[in-house]
């Protein structure tokens, strides 16, 4: 456990001192600023637009953090053979995987928490400027939606670690992780469509394709379970059972991926 924590600490420090982080934070600040500037154009929907834009800015920044910093934190170790030095110490391959994941996770939590503070400041400012148009807004729903942005990127981090463990270059890791993200965001809509009446009238969709998508939908991460934007924007009640299910899904999916990554990584050879 000590080795896992030691590895997590240096991974976190490597990430937090990466200059890309400043660029991503600046970009997020620009998006929050843009929100303040354009909010007045929407009047009755100011509250909804504010929540939407803030959650989108957090999501976009999180995506950039995982792909530009997170990928490098593990895949670069393998690319640059730093892993030879690390694995020459009494650290098992599984400890390496979990240590790296925890380190990237700390980094994400700290970075997204900082952005969350800025996001809250934006909401507070707009709330004071347009108090009459934030009728359905609730801080609880907003915080829950922000929390699930973090959970979504925790799962994406597990995907990045998994692909870093099985591929030989950071570029391949980036491509596979990005493809998984895109597929994970859209898979639920595809499945809904295939189950709809429109799809049953469609001649082009074969039974084979239906079965294939049914199988793939269980393998791919379903990122839409972490999307609480609608509830936060409209101030709808979020059931605690749904939240528990979403967190449980994220935790189980990440654990399975990391365990698989540990098994594959243990068999891997480093030339």
């Amino acid at each position: 456990m000590r080795a896992v924590f030691a590895l997590a600490v240096i991974t976190f420090k490597e990430g937090i001192r990466n200059r890309s982080l400043f660029g991503i934070v600046l970009l997020a600040l620009f998006l929050f600023g843009l929100n303040i500037m354009v909010a007045g154009f929407f009047m009755r929907d100011v509250g909804k637009v504010t929540v939407d834009m803030n959650l989108s800015a957090l999501s976009f920044a999180g995506l950039l953090l995982v792909f530009f910093v997170g990928v490098n934190l593990m895949a670069k170790d393998i690319d640059r053979k730093t892993i030879h030095l690390v694995l020459s110490k009494p650290i098992s391959r599984a400890q390496y995987i979990w240590g790296k994941y925890l380190g990237i996770q700390f980094f994400l939590v700290v970075s997204l928490s900082l952005l969350f503070v800025f996001s809250c400041m934006t909401v507070v400012l707009l709330l004071s400027l347009y108090p009459n148009y934030f009728g359905g807004f609730s801080w609880v729903q907003f915080v829950v939606a922000c929390f699930f942005v973090l959970v979504k990127f925790s799962v994406l981090t597990a995907i990045v670690v998994f692909f870093s463990a099985i591929t030989t270059s950071s570029l391949i890791t980036l491509i596979f992780s990005f493809a998984s993200y895109i597929a994970g965001v859209t898979i639920e809509e595809v499945v809904f469509y295939l189950k709809s009446e429109f799809a049953s009238q469609e001649q082009m969709i074969s039974e084979g394709l239906r079965h294939f998508i049914a199988v793939v939908s269980y393998l791919l991460p379903n990122f839409s379970v972490f999307d609480y934007t609608l509830e936060a924007a409209h101030g709808l009640t979020i059931e605690s059972s749904r939240m528990l299910l979403s967190v449980g899904y994220g935790v189980v999916y990440s654990c399975i991926l990391l365990s698989l990554a540990s098994v594959i990584f243990a068999r891997r050879e480093f030339n």
Binding site: F5, I10, N18, V86, L87, K89
Partner: protein
């Protein structure tokens, strides 16, 4: 007792589809005794780094076995006993040396006091005390090499594996590392040393193995270079015609053809008479040497033989 034994170890790399497999190491058998400074030399692609990676468990041999103190490597984790310095240590750019060493100590289960004590001791020895708070990305190549050595030695391992430790070091740095290796040797550590700088290998190692194309070519002992002719004077001279060789040979001189000239091993007591004879027959003395045969000579000779 042998500290490390490699028994008929082979390793083949598969470079990809439709490409020929590469035999990186083939039937390699070695023994490294406890407290010995063991040098592994060979041309590029000879299999030195592959051998080291198999020892560290980064890759697995296809056949053969590696034993550590008589027990198979697959049955035990020996990494707490090993300190490893790779050829070009790529360290974490955004960390400083102190943080890197703290990580090394914690992963090796050292206490905070031990980490601080060992770090300061090694940093002082390798002249890195002032640089310990600087990010590693600002380090020069030589400083990175010395930082890598600190990383390898922090947990006081009993076996030290150095892959090109002198690479990128200036003469002062080389002297520092040389002294450190000698100190480790005095402490009874087993040192596995890989280098292309043959003069360093020759000076430091008790035993040297030459490998080429993954096979063991020759093993030399330190005494092979010192020879039994330690009392002799070694002279480099112009070519000696056959008719003038008889008299020097009668005076106990050994003659070895070397390129356009000859190398003579002259017994100390006959030096003046041999020198006078050479002058008399018009053979010029070009210089003198400290040894009859250098590791470089042996290296070139055996590698050429292997290629033929």
């Amino acid at each position: 007792m042998d500290e490390i034994q490699l028994c008929a170890v082979s390793k083949t790399y598969n470079p990809g589809l439709f490409k020929k497999k590469v035999n990186a190491v083939k039937d390699l058998s070695l023994e490294i005794a406890s407290g010995e400074v063991f040098g592994l030399i060979g041309p590029n692609g000879a299999g030195k780094s592959t051998t080291i990676r198999m020892l560290l468990g980064l890759i697995r041999p296809d056949s053969g076995s590696i034993l550590f103190r008589g027990k198979a490597l697959t049955e035990q984790d020996i990494r707490s006993e090993i300190g490893y310095l790779p050829e070009n240590p790529y360290l974490y750019d955004h960390l400083n040396l102190r943080e890197l060493l703290r990580f090394c100590g914690r992963s090796s289960q050292l206490s905070v006091e031990q980490i601080v004590h060992r770090s300061q001791e090694l940093l002082a020895k390798l002249d890195l005390l002032e640089a310990q708070k600087r990010p590693l990305r600002t380090f020069s190549k030589g400083m990175l090499q010395r930082a890598g050595i600190c990383f390898a030695l922090l947990h006081d391992p009993s076996i030290v594996i150095f892959d090109e430790p002198m690479s990128g070091l200036d003469p002062i740095g080389r002297k520092m590392v040389f002294d450190l290796v000698m100190e480790l040797k005095q402490q009874g550590k087993t040192i596995f040393f890989c280098s292309h700088i043959l003069s360093d290998v020759e000076r430091l190692c008790d035993r040297i193995c030459l490998i080429s194309k993954g096979r063991l070519i020759k093993q030399f002992h330190r005494d092979d270079f010192l020879q039994s002719m330690s009392q002799a004077v070694f002279l480099e001279v112009t070519d000696i015609p056959e008719q003038h060789r008889e008299k020097p040979l009668a005076m106990g001189v050994q003659i070895r053809q070397e390129g356009q000239g000859c190398l003579l091993a002259v017994p100390g007591e006959n030096y003046f008479s041999v020198s006078a004879y050479l002058q008399e027959v018009g053979i010029e003395i070009l210089g003198c040497r400290a040894e009859w045969v250098s590791l470089e000579d042996l290296f070139m000779q055996h590698v050429k033989e292997q290629e033929q």
